[in-house]
Symmetry: C2
Subunit: 578 residues, 2 copies
């Protein structure tokens, strides 16, 4: 076989292996060195390819596709700094446990370290932020490496999809000439490409271990379940059943998916971030057992409250990442979260302590009634955007929420409902970067996707809008524009008057109508709440990219939050503590 035939054989087998192990989508950024892989991927009818010119956006786009589908997603770029643009998305995928198959094409062996163009050090270039690295080499003489490559590619995908899921890098050096033949098909007869299957077990506790934990729960009078983002599909019912049996409130982060859906919502507490800030309330709530599942929640008030507790504090993590930023864990349980709940619940025999649970519920109701007061506000405000949005969310909506202020506002204003909705966010490393592209990826795998984010985060990834347009994404963007960094107004930095606006407020003065025009997006800048509701309703009927901009004010938002807190404090004094 000549160079082209060998290359085509190796790369066809590679693509076949990707497909065998459920890689059905690949985001491609244009470039020269990736040519053979890009062409062969496009020829593979079973793998859908998307184009994204900007590799930074492409990385997050693939992340969003994987979040939306729950399947591993590939991404492919040329050699050189193109690959470095993936780094932010790779890191986010690593910490948020999303399976990405990062395919970096490279110059061949003999062009390394001699100053060749677009040649950098791509081996292990993402350091500790990938779960696995594989250097894919082809022979120029025979197919002797085919079977090895197939095994290592299979292993790479298996690493990516095993708990904790995460990104892997496969570096693919390719020699010129770069034009492949036709994609080869491999049947099962073809011994050299018989599939290597991988069966993945999940971690489960022994009965002895479970009985001990059930006994601890049985002894607890005042237990609490705390849930962040969890990986298993349908875990909500398992968690709700455990909480119901034990009589524990569930402090449910917006990304836990516990606040919306058809499961039992009875024990779900949503407003803890607001009421735990009130010292008099927080001090009254002294648990004797805390069980945590999933990623650390967004709420800082919850973290601080937890740090003040001295009780047994159990962290259940099938991904074994030592998720304990508060430093309050007393017991780590390496076990699949859903299996943990399902195996444990039947073993619990306890007369639930209803006083404890009801105390949480009453406080939660009170807090929600105070927070709902902002519905009366006439002025456009950040808080009411998220309250209105949370109420409006249609059945089966997918809401992607930005970092910094957006996720915090949603944490405050997303109340429980049977109406199902899925909440997405980039809470692995919590960056404001790549949010637009991640939402575009979700929008391409799920209908009814809405993105709510702030102006700095929107600005950071405006390039992501091109891929939205080119790949015909249906996405509604709610752009809360306070012209700068809103979160800093809540932090001690706000007292640094001399430097505040230049370093933290960072007003940009951008009029995003021009951005909308550049990308052909439908654009509305709302002037009042009626227009906001109209724009939301309109977005359901209109395909493509829609931007609903809500101008708000940073100072007003701080004042709004403080007023709500102050009102709540007096209401708690009157109605809950008394």
């Amino acid at each position: 076989m000549n160079h082209q035939e060998l290359m085509t054989h190796y790369l066809s087998s590679f693509i076949h292996t990707l497909h065998q192990h459920h890689v059905r989508e690949v985001v491609i950024s244009p470039g020269s060195r990736s040519t053979p892989l890009a062409i062969l991927l496009e020829e593979c009818a079973e793998i859908k390819t998307y184009l994204d010119i900007d590799e930074r956006s492409a990385g997050f786009f693939a992340l969003g596709l994987a979040k939306g589908s729950g399947q591993p997603v590939g991404l492919l770029c040329t050699s050189g700094t193109a690959t470095a643009n993936y780094y932010p998305a790779v890191i986010e995928a690593y910490f948020s446990r999303v399976p990405l198959i990062v395919l970096t094409s490279d110059r061949p062996y003999e062009l390394q370290h001699v100053g060749a163009p677009q040649t950098i050090n791509q081996a292990n270039m993402y350091g500790e932020h990938v779960k696995h690295f594989f250097q894919f080499e082809m022979s120029e003489h025979d197919l002797s490496l085919l079977k090895y490559n197939q095994a290592m590619t299979t292993r790479s995908i298996a690493e990516s999809t095993s708990a904790p899921q995460g990104p892997v890098q496969i570096n693919v050096p390719i020699r010129e000439p770069l034009i492949p033949g036709k994609l080869l098909e491999f049947g099962n007869q073809n011994v050299e490409n018989t599939m290597i299957t991988v069966e993945q077990g999940k971690r489960a506790l022994s009965n002895t271990q479970l009985v001990t934990i059930a006994a601890q729960i049985g002894q607890a009078k005042k237990g609490v379940l705390i849930c962040g983002k969890m990986e298993s599909i349908g875990i909500e019912s398992s968690v709700a059943a455990l909480a119901a049996k034990a009589g524990f409130p569930i402090l449910a982060d917006p990304l836990s998916q516990l606040r919306r859906g058809g499961h039992d919502l009875n024990n779900v507490i949503e407003s803890y971030d607001t009421f735990l800030r009130i010292e008099s309330a927080a001090l009254k709530l002294n648990p004797d057992l805390i069980i945590r599942l999933g990623a650390p929640p967004v709420s800082k008030a919850l973290k601080l409250w937890m740090q003040n507790q001295t009780c047994m504090n159990i962290v259940v993590d099938g991904g074994m990442s030592w998720r304990d930023p508060a430093g309050s864990a007393t017991e780590m349980i390496y076990c699949d979260e859903q299996i943990f709940c399902d195996d444990l619940t039947p073993l619990i025999s306890i007369q639930p302590e209803l006083h404890w649970l009801n105390s949480w519920k009453r406080l939660n109701q009170l807090t929600k009634s105070v927070l709902s007061g902002i519905e009366e506000e006439q002025e456009l405000s950040e808080v009411k955007v998220f309250r209105e949005l949370a109420e409006w969310l249609p059945e089966d909506a997918n809401l992607f929420v930005g970092n910094s202020m957006a996720i915090r506002e949603l944490d405050t204003f997303l109340f429980v409902k049977q109406r199902s909705a899925t909440i997405f966010g980039n809470r692995g490393a919590n960056g404001i970067d790549g949010v637009v592209s991640t939402a575009v990826g979700v929008a391409l795998s799920r209908k009814n996707t809405i993105l709510a984010l702030g102006d700095l985060s929107f600005f950071h990834d405006m390039n992501g809008l091109l891929a939205a347009r080119q790949n015909l994404a249906d996405l509604t963007i709610i752009l809360v524009n306070n012209d700068g960094g809103g979160i800093f107004s809540f932090l001690p930095q706000a007292s640094e008057k001399a430097h505040f606006e230049s370093l933290f407020g960072t007003p940009h003065g951008l009029d995003f109508v021009h951005t909308a025009r550049l990308y052909g997006a439908d654009y509305t800048k709302v002037k009042n709440w009626v227009e906001f509701q109209q724009a939301l309703e309109f977005s359901k009927t209109k395909r493509g990219l829609k931007i609903i901009e809500v101008p708000t004010d940073r100072e007003t938002n701080v004042a709004n939050h403080r007023a709500l807190q102050s009102l709540l404090e007096s209401r708690i004094e009157e109605e809950w503590l008394s």
Copy 2:
């Protein structure tokens, strides 16, 4: 001392050390964890700070400042994925030898590896693409680490500025609370902060080594000097003197700075990339000695020609990076390039072989006369943009040229002139990313800066325009818009009709007038060459950001180049070979 006092002391000393070692500019991206460093840097009157919201752009912005000033430049961001956005610029700085001091703020020790927000693995996160990594730790108890930190900070900057220059990372974990006191001033009396000076020697050959090389040059009848981008200021005269003494033509890359300026231009050959593609000409030019200085040139024709030679091939590199992508080196010389020229020239005694030199010169003149023919073209075209631009460049202009097609067009059309100009490009890793921001950085350190680039590269870094506006850069952008990836039309990919437009042509259909409006840039889309000239002239008188868009066609550009080659081939046949 309390936490705030200790932190202020440590960070003031750090800033003082940066300043002592010539860091006079820092690009800051807003964030929380970096607060104390950002505030204290802003308070330091001797260090200029710039704001850039997007860290990817900020990295390249700092790169441009350092390219423009020749001094090390700092960049500062918050923890998490913000730091990963620097990766493309760090890689470019590494391979193009630009001193960047990358300051990544981090969460403290006790928040690592426990799932804390915005906490990733920042130690050594740029892998082999920084020259040095230093973890800056502060004590909460005393100033015992102050002197060590000062030494290691000094060492880091020294590493960054020693040959080959490059980026270093200093990771700075900071504990809350994040508000510093006032910046402390340090006098020389203050023993704990006495400056540690660093005197850097340069590599020079011994007289014995030089005499040997001078003898080799003396024996050569047909020597050639090849020059890429070189680091030393004023090296042009040294190279010209060596070439004059030896009677060697200088094949001068546009980034060598040898094509423009007050030095002796007599031996400079610019059009080799065009005429070496013509096989009959290339075969006639058989050197018996090649000496190379600086980075590998852009020209692929030159690389291929060199690979066909079997003569002695000397690479002089004070940065010791084994710059030999063609694999044709026979002798590596680790010596400062300017010292090499200056020490060698007086030792050469040779009767220059004028026939050899004149043969190159005649061919070069012939090629230039053919290339100049495009001046007659009426239609807007990519080739003529670069020809007109090269002719028009005002005295002391700084031209930043994009990668992919732009640098290749300039390579073809930048002819020698005494009128000085400095040519910049990102030719470390040759990415199309970050070009706008790098040019913004150059524009803020040098007057009369012009950026010429293609539409994909412009798109990739449009976010860089915000920092241009916010920092009041005067920059003229010549945007050659062929709606996609022009370079691929020259590559074998062009024959892949089924996939070409979707994977390589990648038309985006963007109307950049909206981009100009978003950033308040002056914008002209020219319709003919008169308008192009008018826009260029106007740009000299107008401050701020100016975008001159030239719509061109990818197919036409390929046809233009082929026509010029074909015409040249027959002219060479008639006038040079005969």
